[in-house]
Symmetry: C2
Subunit: 327 residues, 2 copies
Amino acid sequence: MGAAIERAAVVGAGVIGSAWAARFALHGVDVKVLDPNPDTERILGEVFDNARAAWGALDLPSVPEGAVEIVETYDEACNDAQWVQESAPENVEMKRSILQQIDDACDHDAVIASSTSGIKPSDLQKGMSHPWRLLVGHPFNPVYLLPLVEVCGGEPTGKDIIERAMEVYASVSMKPLHVRVEIDAFIADRLLEAVWRESLWLVNDGVATTEEIDDAIRYGFGLRWAQMGLFETYRVAGGEGGMGHFVRQFGPTLSWPWTKLMDVPELTDELIDTIEQQSEAQSGAHSIRELERIRDQNLVGILRALEANDWGAGETLAKQRDSLSSN
Amino acid sequence: MGAAIERAAVVGAGVIGSAWAARFALHGVDVKVLDPNPDTERILGEVFDNARAAWGALDLPSVPEGAVEIVETYDEACNDAQWVQESAPENVEMKRSILQQIDDACDHDAVIASSTSGIKPSDLQKGMSHPWRLLVGHPFNPVYLLPLVEVCGGEPTGKDIIERAMEVYASVSMKPLHVRVEIDAFIADRLLEAVWRESLWLVNDGVATTEEIDDAIRYGFGLRWAQMGLFETYRVAGGEGGMGHFVRQFGPTLSWPWTKLMDVPELTDELIDTIEQQSEAQSGAHSIRELERIRDQNLVGILRALEANDWGAGETLAKQRDSLSSN
């Protein structure tokens, strides 16, 4: 077993890119990192500390870490990489320019993946010399702990490239989900966007604070979603009547005037200030570093609990354990 | 410590009502149960089996269970109850009629709570003789395991009644969340509704199956939401820039044409069949009973993991342990 690649490049090394580097390196893959930010070394170091701590808390077998090198040019980053993961800011023009430079610097066999959470791969492929080798591999923060990665090809993406992506991501212990139809925001972020909009209305209209909304999630349906998601939960709720019964029963409420989602709340300075102040009142007692540690400890605990039940993300973790120990 | 009430009535004993009965009885509260369904005894028995199994798996101290009695009339159910929890089907007319009969049968001091997930308390209070003692106490399935209960009063609801509800629910180890502004669907179901609509579109348009949508949730952001919810997660993602920075960055994408939520998908027989078939392919290998057990085992594991970190729903569990052992 072990990783399906030996050498990767990470282009863009903020929170997401650095965590990709950690996931690759902790699976024994050598990683070259390219980012113009002078703080790159510090950010990488902090994210690697978190990732190694999570690894330890998960009691995962440790394999010799891949070598990590911060480089200065696209050539140094990409010339011998088998896999390039781009994680630049969400700006189409910027990403296109970066992807073209990656494309030009890469070996013919290399595959290029973009971490974009919302831009269609077809929109990124415009202007690339070899668009067939570009796909989206959209991960979830913290990338060294959460298994999901959405894999989506554009019009020109080769079928073999998608297959290769599924194999490479699985080999670094992820759960690749092939998004078969190319849509903006893929699947998960469509759902997140819906909740985000509705939540902004609730704050905007003074119905609930950020803390009350978070509590409504994490003491209730958030606990269900960590293990079953939406439809399977409702299937169980529907009881012996099954899913069709549940949907028919739930159905009529869909036309009730519950939602204000038809409209987008204007992000005025006032609304942003309100959110900022409420978030500060809610979480300000902890620094971001502390919150990261708390989050990671919770995720580790949840993943181990699911592993003990051989279920969902816990199954992915069990595979990771096997894969790393047979390395 | 212990429960703040000694005698409760549960009116409507499907999956939700039966689980209320279990939560009350396992905290030592006597419960009278009223439901015209001839299967009530069987359903109650199955839910109590699940609840006792969860209690055991959580290693909670067991206190002498309250006496549970299925009765035939509103008078028998309500005449000495201090708390009545109504969990009838989501139909305004039916609920109004039931609540009026409860109101007439209850002692002056009794409080009446409706489990409705979407109807405003003010709409339920119409026609009641003592509307001031009615509030909504909206729980989440499985009620014997998930701590959240949304507490919402209507126009006439007494302030002391809300305070009493917060006290009573906390005393049976729940996390009562006061919904201060009366809106349809309260807080959690507004968010669930948003995700449900978007998910229906994804299935309707053939973008993703029910299983793919569930996987997009439970291998990714579902794991985050079990412990932090939406805003605190984004606060961490925003890094040192903080929440305001994050919102400003996220902001522009809000106006992207990602969502189809402006419109409601028509629940045609064809769409319902599709959902039913996909759900069968996804989960049909397990019976509903098995899925309930799997769900409960996962929830137990997640709750214990969060308890070990003294966080979120795990804190509620720790309090439950204390409260039951000092009983």
